[in-house]
Symmetry: C2
Subunit: 360 residues, 2 copies
């Protein structure tokens, strides 16, 4: 019998389950009745904590990657150890695209935008002759590539703005419920990484608060991250557009999404977003691409023990294999830095027993 | 014996203490072993939950204000009740200045800026002849008033920018530790409201996550809100300046505070900030001035049971008395709306047994 407590306060786990007891977390809390709590919990649950603990990361193969994670967590959660980190400071940040779920052949939010354009096209006959809509509706990949990122902005504006936040949330929720990934013919949220789900739960079981820090849209992620990852809306940091308060004529206020970028949570924007939203430097951070480099550098720059990890996509059979030259999720400079500084680089093919939950 | 669990995951309380057991919270959690948890906890702690519960809001006088709060909390936390709100959605937001601590004779952050100018003046001889510094250093109240809010911006720039976030944090921490309020000759954090501390703890004990949503600077509040209110940095929403990522020549990155406003979390900015940072509409919101009106309107605009409250400063003896004409914390339009819509208006003098913790 054991207890684990989610750092986000979202789950209390008390049963014959997978994680090691977070005694240090319980005892490290600033309670006026600390001893009483410790004694009560020990009396309730202590008797059977001596039983062998099941593996908290069963989808990770034994090896350096897994061991470096569990060793780190043991170091920072052992009371009295030199690297002990109090519960309040146990912040873990995770990139989303390519780190917690797949991102090929295009970022899933881009696919969402494309699907929305197709759905909205009947109401917009003018799109048939206007770029970038024309290229998209005609599936003219060459023309789309020629437009570049800036050329695609009208697609973001047409699909992510000009509506209330609730209307946008509904389009996301509907898409997540119905859209299917072309390669796997499954909902996109089936393409989350089982080893990372285990890692998120393992970190929370050890007193960490787990945050997403993604270049993706904050309002695109929040409708489904709690169900998919156990991460509530307030622990999702992402890019955002401007929203505007508007008081309706009936006295009902709305927040309107405008076609104007407010904050890009990518590259150097990630530490800025972490500081803005979380207000504490992470102790543990995981990414997979050059867009995560500054988040890892910011994490590494703190005093005391820190953990920096990258997912390297090496499994063309079960997922995808890409790195230095990929237009999506490029891993080049951050990889070199990780090797140079001894950060963990997970080799998906070698280190992960399964990729997706449905493989189990 | 009973258990209360802070919604922020910051505190686990297990002892013969003040709050009612948050059974609904425990049982409402989406656990795969829900029943086991319920049974285990009941076995551990259930036997003595029948004892009379001490008053969770002892500094509130009996009356409409107190009753409206406890009635609301009972309605939204009783499983099966028509107004039941799941734990995930129990978001409570609180303004800071004038709602959780005092704000007279000037917002405490303004006093902080003034004190910093005085401390920095020896390094800036040019300030002796340059406005607005000259007026401030000569305590020329008339000249300062004439400068207006915009005229004071150089003071904010000189005290809140041009340094790393850690350097700024240190100036705040040092000031909070040493500065004393002129009227009470006590640290500013002694001037938090005891009834609101009890309310924060009561809400958390009932499964709410408590957030500050303040017009004050986010980085001015975060260094001390956890200790003062039990609210961790990531649950503080506030105004902010632009921060910029900078990689130092030695490979150590810093975040620099720039003299440029990024976001003003006041008035219509409050619902925008709530949406940006929290991503869920509050069920419960408390403010004290016209700057909180839109936060309360946004809270009221949600479906289901909602609670909106205002603190009315009516106690010139123990605190201050001000409302419609005060330059600080003006309460005018929001008051009218509260009366019209039946929101709670707390009369400090009548409803609060004590104002500050040191009165006890």
């Amino acid at each position: 019998m054991e207890i684990t407590i989610d750092g986000a306060g979202k789950m209390i786990h008390c049963g014959r389950t997978g994680y090691r007891p977070a005694w240090d977390q319980l005892l490290g809390l600033r309670l006026d009745r600390r001893m009483l709590v410790g004694a009560a919990l020990a009396a309730c649950f202590g008797a059977s904590t001596v039983r062998a603990q099941p593996d908290p990361l069963p989808s990770w193969n034994e090896g350096t990657a897994k061991k470096s994670i569990t060793d780190f967590v043991a170091r920072v959660t052992t009371p009295g150890a030199p690297d002990f980190v109090p519960v309040d400071h146990r912040i873990a940040t995770f990139d989303n695209d390519g780190t917690l779920w797949s991102e090929q052949p295009v970022y899933f939010q881009v696919q969402f935008a494309f699907d929305r354009i197709k759905a909205l096209a009947p109401q917009h006959p003018e799109w048939r002759t206007r770029q970038p809509f024309k290229a998209l509706l005609e599936r003219d990949i060459k023309a789309m590539a020629a437009l570049g990122e800036k050329g695609l902005l009208p697609i973001i504006a047409a699909t992510h703005a000009g509506m209330t936040i609730e209307e946008f949330e509904k389009t996301v929720t509907d898409w997540i419920a119905t859209a299917r990934h072309p390669r796997f013919d499954r909902p996109y949220t089936d393409l989350v990484y089982q080893p990372m789900l285990e890692l998120l739960a393992y970190m929370r079981g050890n007193g960490f608060r787990t945050f997403i820090v993604s270049g993706g849209g904050i309002e695109f992620m929040r409708p489904w991250t709690e169900k998919a990852y156990g991460i509530p809306p307030e622990q999702v940091v992402g890019s955002s557009g401007v929203t505007r308060w508007h008081m309706g004529p009936d006295g009902t206020p709305v927040l309107l999404k405008e076609a104007k970028i407010d904050f890009v949570d990518d590259g150097p924007g990630k530490p800025v977003g972490i500081n803005r939203f979380i207000g504490r430097r992470p102790v543990f951070a995981f990414g997979n691409s050059d867009g995560d480099q500054q988040m890892l550098e910011w994490t590494a720059g703190g005093s005391g023990a820190r953990f920096m990890g990258l997912v390297h996509h090496t499994d063309v059979e079960r997922e995808w294999a890409y790195d230095r030259t990929s237009p999506v999720g490029r891993l080049d400079k951050a990889w070199d830095e990780a090797v140079r500084r001894g950060w963990l680089v997970v080799d998906m093919k070698r280190d992960w027993k399964v990729i997706y939950p449905f493989e189990k």
